[in-house]
Symmetry: C2
């Protein structure tokens, strides 16, 4: 509970006599004073329990591990880069010993056998040093995940026990200097040599060197290398191979490694470049869950279509995206906690009284800067909970299957991509706003924003560039209207939209289907939305659904028009690309709000429900407000109603003001993770 | 000139037969093909000459100094913090020897006697290492500026010659831990001791320690200290004193200094904290241009009103804000240059052809991400040119005056504050977007974004928090409608709005005056704006003028209503605060567009004018588009027209695509300042 006295701008301090306001202008104030609203009292422990969900235990394990090793936050600033890297590695191994990093691996190899727990652990780790987080992600998520998901029992037996303990360090060598997003165009080649029953791995051109590979510069002994498989002179597309790259600290024969050098952040992780010069590995080092090469040099796969095969392989690595999204959201929690608590302590300028300066959080502008970000952090948290729970179900259910695709799998991939994009952009934005809201003090490294800002910056890029991911989401939306395209290249969205989407989606008159669906979106008929209450979640959701359907049908229409006009498909795509992104974004925003609404609806009546409803309303209305131009352009918002939304947001902020301290305490960021002696005093 | 082949998305490659488009949907495409638009050819040298303006020579001096010392960019990454600080200090002294840092001081002391040149030099320095920039700003702008502007001939004689060469290092000790924005509430006290004719400087409480003071931790021997002057038991408000703080590397007696430690960026600058424990300085150390204390202990000032006196003193330090704004804008130029050139080299995904991947800059989305930022960089550059030219005139004209206030001075302060706020936020946003647009490569320190992002981050805070500055701008707007309030506390905006603005502005029926003015804003009558051409600068400017006037009158109306309703003035302010900020922002946005329009209008007909008109149109329409919801809410934009603006922006982006390389080359950022071997190849 906050110990602050009730601030002057809270609802109770309104003048007791209703002002003679015009109907439009002061509607919010009258509602406040007439509605008999009672300020809820939040039980912080209850709130934390709600946020932690079913994985409270593992989250608390991570919290205490973080607190125990809190000194790494300072080490990051004082140690040399080399020492810091070693410190981070040692810490990863120590944490592995507590079981927190191996939750997602099968129990028979020493893991916890619970994917959901492994994501909860990872997310919570984002409260601390983010080099530790990313090193854990590289070692257990990417490297370990590739062995687990792309390999078969011999690989599991050979690598999992030692990688789970951190004894065997590995890396995930997919990205090349020349190709990050377009993985199908990688230039590394693995040629099968039938004479020796080996693959020969080669970097075929300079920009095909592996680049930005975490763990590569220093610690990895083994790499999972993605390369074009060539068998008998035929290219079979990108596959993954286990390649030893280092022994006793020295690069293996034929392997050249270079340090990527200083980075904007995450300098506790040793990123590097790798070149392969005819490196020979045994045939068995192909991770052969989805495809194999016989000793005689015959390529075999259960998945006939090469695109679908590639797509299936990448699909198994979805966990990384879910983790990064959760990491971003939790890093934002640290920032918003610090900024909120600072604003509850810092005073500047006498505003309401002559004898005391005003708390920052009692300024309307400051509430407007922080509370929408706080509300969105909650919203994304609940979305992330849904995505990771769905990942848990899909991976637990299909772990031993042949990876055959289905609607659930594609939906999960889309949601993981969308939540990663929105969650990491939210982190960038929130951390920036919170730094500025803490003024000059926010610029000192000891006050946490330096590391938060630098370390999270690349979250919007790695595990899939956010813009590319949103195009992936849009692809899913378009294919849902046409037929199944399981054989599509997952990341080759550009070609998809320019070819298949145009030829198939539109020929099947999906556009018409789309337009019909829009009419069904509004639950109470065509003009219902003009009269529904702003705080009615059905109204809020209907608005976001309408937007999603409308933008999507617009994309399809524009594609069709371009092709009808005989324009170059690439140019059609270029022109419609911002609408493609907008469609994806609208889709994910709708899902996020649905997650928040569902969560609050399920709560038992009580103060916590009242408080979270305020936050949920604030998030919903801010989401509509941010795109209110679109809603007005498309006849779904009158200018009067649009202004009413902005006023309602101000009113919600004032109601949330007395709850702010408890709402950030609910995240339960361990105190040593906040540091900030200057800000929190 | 760009050597790229004409991209597929440029205007020329449109289908030669006009498509059978609906009137609304494809209006832009038809205009493009029918208008006979000829792509201009840019003479880069001519463009650079235009941007450099009358100070081309000094800008080129700085460019060559930067190139000569380019290794500091790498030193910033490889050196220890201590060594880097020394390196930066040495570099500042070396640059001082070339004359570039002393342009703003009188010639008789070894300066250049040209304020405008000094700002041009400072801005250009922002192409390089920003610790060097900020150290220069602290030494010559803040410390030197305070001696020059607040001191009199004895101070000039005593300090200017050595500070101009960098032999005497100083700092500017205004901010305290407890007070950054609210300078009038500083807790440091200087008491006059008539017996010894000395001032006794004391830190009266812990949060009154000076904090974040550049140059303080290591190099400054002298500080200009802002403290509450007490004479004969009476407090006379904040004044500035010269206090020796360090000799031969050791703190002076009674002075305690602490290092602020690692910061988010700018680690080549030694920021620190200072405590004073009864430090005695001679009476003559009061910087006495505006007020003095006689030996007998009588306080004297030509400016009777204490608020006006304080305001006048701070007003003389305006140069710092102009410099920081220019620094931010020029740092943005570095980022946009790198991102644009990378996008002209980097290919990803086959889009228009099967045999070659597409250049990033040929994607519509990528153009949409970068070009509005490029256009805004130009717009802010021209605004900054106006502000610094106006500063030059005011300071050159009034340097020896008594600092009496006038409309021109207040207007300059307002414009400096607004340009600083918009310029530094633009830097933060542009650098972030450009980093993301360069993907993982953008995350490597060698590719410049790490330093740009970290070092500029605090620009939005120092020399006045941007939100506080915009409130200062708003104050100026409101006072313009009422009467002169030269005696207002400059930074005490909150109290101003809650007291004077409400009581005076409104009582004088300024609201009515405001509402009348709005009607005069549209040049062609009430509905003219619905039919004017989108590319008509008069239309664009009228839109921004209308918005400015309307928001401003709304603020006044809301203030009045609150007071009429007997609400607490602090609460009234809290509720109207976001409108106050919006009014200020709308005002500055209008000025920025006016600056850009005026610049392009003055150009002789020719290709350069055509090119800059495209940029200016893009900037204007993006500014309207960003707030199109507001324009629709207030009846100044139909939804049809709003959508037309978005389409026109797409069309302008396609026209600018072939010009992009030249447009960034025009900034003439020296190649060694770009570094980025991975990005620029």
């Amino acid at each position: 509970m906050s110990t602050d006295t009730v601030p002057p701008s809270s609802a109770e301090n309104l003048p007791s006599t209703a002002p003679a306001a015009t109907p439009e202008q002061d509607a919010d104030e009258r509602v406040e004073s007439r509605s008999g609203y009672t300020q809820p009292v939040i039980d912080v422990a209850e709130l934390t329990a709600l946020l932690d969900g079913k994985y409270a235990e593992v989250r608390n394990l991570v919290r205490s591990n973080l607190a125990e090793h809190a000194s790494v936050l300072e080490d990051a600033e004082t140690m040399s880069r080399d020492d810091y890297r070693e410190r981070v590695k040692d810490l990863v191994v120590e944490m592995a010993a507590t079981g927190q990093t191996g939750m997602g691996f099968p129990e028979e190899y020493g893991g916890g056998g619970d994917i959901g727990a492994s994501i909860a652990a990872f997310e919570t780790l984002a409260y601390g040093d983010l080099s530790v987080l990313v090193k854990v992600g590289v070692q257990f998520g990417l490297f370990g995940g590739a062995i687990l998901q792309l390999g078969t029992k011999p690989h599991h037996d050979a690598y999992l026990p030692d990688l789970i303990t951190g004894k065997l360090m590995g890396c995930f060598a997919m990205t090349e200097t020349g190709h990050g997003s377009n993985v199908q165009a990688l230039g590394t080649v693995a040629t099968y040599d039938v004479a020796t029953q080996e693959f020969v791995v080669t970097t075929t051109r300079e920009d095909a060197r592996k680049d930005y590979i975490g763990n590569a510069a220093k610690h990895a002994e083994v790499a999972v290398v993605f390369a074009q498989l060539e068998v008998g002179g035929k290219s079979e597309g990108v596959h993954a191979f286990v390649v030893p790259i280092r022994a006793k600290g020295k690069p293996s024969e034929g392997v050249r490694i270079e340090d990527d050098g200083l980075k904007l952040g995450l300098n506790g992780v040793d990123n590097g470049r790798i070149w392969f010069d005819g490196v020979r590995i045994p045939r068995e080092n192909l991770l052969n869950r989805f495809a194999d090469v016989t000793p005689a040099g015959v390529y075999e796969s259960n998945i006939e279509n090469p695109n679908k095969r590639f797509f299936t392989m990448l699909g198994t690595l979805i966990q990384g995206r879910v983790c990064v999204g959760g990491g971003g959201i939790n890093a934002a929690k640290v920032a918003i906690t610090i900024a909120t608590k600072y604003a509850l302590r810092r005073r500047q300028f006498e505003a309401t009284r002559d004898d005391q300066e005003e708390l920052l959080l009692d300024y309307g502008l400051h509430q407007r800067r922080l509370f929408p970000l706080l509300a969105r952090t909650y919203a994304l948290h609940f979305m992330q909970e849904l995505v990771s729970s769905s990942l848990h179900d899909v991976l637990s259910g299909t772990q031993s299957s042949d990876g055959s695709d289905d609607h659930g799998q594609r939906e999960l991939e889309s949601r993981a991509a969308g939540t990663k994009a929105l969650g990491t952009w939210h982190a960038t934005r929130t951390i920036q706003e919170c730094r500025e809201a803490c003024g000059g003090a926010g610029y000192l490294a000891v006050n946490r924003f330096a590391a938060l800002k630098a370390d999270t910056d690349v979250f919007t890029t790695f595990e899939g560039d956010n813009h590319v991911l949103l195009q992936l989401v849009a692809k899913g939306l378009l294919t849902d209207y046409a037929s199944d395209f399981e054989d599509m290249d997952q990341l080759g969205m550009v070609r998809f939209v320019t070819n298949l989407a145009v030829e198939t989606v539109i020929e099947k008159t999906a556009v018409h289907k789309l337009l019909e669906r829009i009419k069904d979106v509004l639950p109470g008929g065509d003009n219902w939305d003009q009269e529904a209450g702003l705080l009615d979640p059905d109204y809020q959701l209907a608005m976001l659904r309408f937007r999603e359907e409308h933008i999507l049908s617009g994309v399809a229409r524009r594609l069709k028009r371009g092709i009808d006009n005989k324009m170059n498909p690439g140019e059609v795509f270029s022109r419609v690309q911002d609408h493609v992104i907008a469609a994806a974004r609208a889709h994910v925003e709708r899902l996020v709000l649905e997650a928040f609404v569902a969560k609050t609806r399920d709560l038992p009546d009580g103060d916590l429900k009242v408080a979270l409803n305020l936050l949920c309303d604030l998030h919903a209305l801010c989401t509509i407000e941010a795109d209110r131009a679109w809603f007005m352009e498309h006849g779904r918002l009158s200018s009067t109603r649009s202004k009413a939304i902005s006023r309602e947001i101000g009113s919600l902020c004032r109601k949330l003001r007395p709850l702010a301290d408890d709402l950030v305490d609910g995240f339960a960021v361990p105190a040593p993770m906040l540091r900030s002696p200057d800000l929190l005093g």
